[in-house]
């Protein structure tokens, strides 16, 4: 079983991968809401909240995440 420290380490590793692989040019070109949502996703990996920020369904946001080349790491 993973303890809190273990989970936090995994979260940090995943965050680094999302930051390094994201297409930042694509992200910066998006409208304000979508851009904020993509940046939120890079930092947290939380698809549901990111989709609410963008005003999209979870699947709609997930398709956008793929276009922004942000990996879903879990």
């Amino acid at each position: 079983m993973t303890d809190i420290r273990g989970w936090l380490r995994l979260e940090e590793e995943a965050r680094k991968i999302r930051r390094s692989e994201a297409d930042w040019k694509f992200i910066e070109e998006q409208p304000a809401r979508v851009k904020a949502a993509l940046k939120y996703y890079v930092e947290t990996g939380d698809l549901y909240v990111a989709s609410r920020i963008a005003g999209l369904t979870v699947e709609g946001f997930n398709n956008l995440r793929k276009r922004a080349k942000i990996p879903n790491v879990i």
Binding site: W7, G45, V49, T57, E59, P71, N72, I74
Partner: protein, 175 residues
């Protein structure tokens, strides 16, 4: 007979994989909460879900007020643990159903994994990611594969989902 309940982030990735129907070799029925169903929109995913509902492999899970109440309480509890990823309502509903009904929870949400690991009353809930499902399919030889690593790679390529390196290496080694 075994039941599972799937959340959105699992379903939308899983449904992009060519071997998606193998899920139903592991579970008699996979429940899809209404809150999850509302979050899918693309033709391919909606058609796969509708077809699987029609064949009885998937089944609609309607949230009752008491399940939603416990799910909301779970959301709040996870937000009380500093720096730990919280769960949101859709995956909280799955965890509550998992706890109450003994369903395996299918998710790609780390918050759900954390909750099942850190909160005592949810520790008995079995939470599987695609990684565990593919591992089980390979272990039971439901996927004929000379190279297990190639199957995981195929999933990553077709869904855009990346497995954590350590977990992936561990799964391949155990096979």
């Amino acid at each position: 007979m075994s039941f599972a309940i799937a959340d959105t982030c699992f379903l939308i990735d899983w449904s992009s994989w060519r071997r998606r129907n193998l899920l139903f070799r592991l579970f008699t029925t996979v429940f899809v909460p209404e809150t999850v169903l509302r979050e899918v929109e693309s033709e391919d995913v909606v058609e796969w879900i509708a077809g699987s509902l029609a064949s009885g492999n998937l089944s609609l899970f309607t949230e009752t007020p008491d399940i939603l109440g416990e799910a909301r309480h779970l959301v709040e509890r996870t937000r009380l643990i500093p720096r730990v990823r919280g769960v949101d309502i859709p995956e909280a509903v799955c965890l509550v159903a998992g706890r109450r009904r003994g369903y395996t929870v299918l998710t790609e949400n780390r918050g759900a994994l954390m909750a099942a690991s850190l909160l005592e009353e949810y520790r008995g809930v079995k939470v599987w990611r695609a990684l565990e499902i593919i591992y089980e399919l390979l272990r039971r030889r439901l996927i004929p594969a000379e190279s297990p690593a190639a199957v995981f790679k195929e999933y990553e390529k077709e869904t855009g989902h990346i497995f954590p390196k350590g977990d992936l290496e561990n799964a391949v080694r155990r096979l």
